[in-house]
Amino acid sequence: MKNEKTKKGLWKSWALLAGVLLIAAVLLLIFPDRQTAARNTIWQYFREMIAILPAVMVLMGLFSVFVTKEQVVRYLGKASGIKGLLIAILLGSLPTGPLYVAFPLAAVLLKKGARISSIVIFLSAWACIKIPQELVELQFLGLEFMALRLILTIVFVILMGVSVEKLMTLGGRGKTGGTRGGGQHELESI
């Protein structure tokens, strides 16, 4: 069933692409003076993308196979202190998949008693400090931009993790409030 769903999503993406191509063709027929500019940029961006996309996908595949969810839960569950924060960043930067894949994982970790700061940092690292992602940023925005944003993000994400934990514990003990229903079956499978 899951397979069918992704297949349907894939069809949708291709249909969307066809639709936009049609709009592009019509627009460029009405404004022929823009044709060269459009063709040149499309070709340029396509070449830049296709030159790194296979490599990025290989890396994503490697991370997803070699770094399992079980390992993430095991290492992050017992991490603490400054070392814990660094482990959370490192673990978040390795696995792949969109952010919503990380939510059930974080719910399991909360239930297992991991620090809130570690979980927030892990989620944030998962969202925007992933290695394959950084490589694409390097390609399109350059080393200066990528490195500076990476450093600033790490600093602020750590500050955010610590503040969220403070704010959560300030407001009473309901720290695993919403996980009761959601994380249950994942917990059993891990």
Binding site: L17, A55, M60, F66, Q139
Partner: protein, 160 residues
């Protein structure tokens, strides 16, 4: 071919060879996973490339600068942060999009804000996050992520 392209491909090749030596079966499996993700993301990547082509060919630079350039100031950064938070596209495709915005005259700060909220704040996935992590943690995380995205953007604008 640029140094970046060579570096990225060599890095991937190095990791692949290392994985092959460590565990052949797993490395093969990783390649299949990678191929599947490639097929899956390809139409979206092509879509973004075409949209960038149209954007660069048609959008008047003066307009882009007006909304996302230096003179747009904090208001411009705020608007593009909201756009980034609401948009739900793969992070990988946000970087070429950001590059095209820069090329058209958007400021570094605006582009940094856009990428950061796009990846860290998820309006579309909010219900799922609330279900898994609870409403309090979810709101705190998303609101603070939005705030730090703007701080990161402002700092980047000052430094770069």
């Amino acid at each position: 071919m640029s140094i970046t392209v060579i570096f990225i491909n060599l890095f991937a090749l190095f990791c692949l060879v290392f994985a092959m030596i460590k565990d052949r079966a797993k490395a093969k499996q990783a390649l299949i996973v990678g191929l599947k993700s490639f097929v899956q993301i390809l139409p979206t990547v092509l879509l973004i490339v075409v949209i960038i082509g149209l954007f660069l060919a048609f959008a008047p630079p003066a307009r882009v600068a007006q909304f996302m350039g230096k003179q747009a100031g904090l208001a411009g950064i705020l608007v593009i942060s909201v756009v980034g938070a609401v948009l739900h596209i793969p992070a990988l495709t946000s970087f070429p999009l950001a590059a095209s915005l820069l090329q058209k005259g958007a400021s570094v700060a605006a582009v940094a804000a856009f990428i950061t909220t796009l990846t860290m704040v998820g309006m579309v996935t909010l219900p799922l996050e609330i279900k898994e992590l609870g409403i309090k943690l979810t709101l705190l995380r998303n609101v603070l992520s939005f705030v730090i995205a703007i701080l990161i953007a402002l700092l980047m604008g000052v430094i770069l």
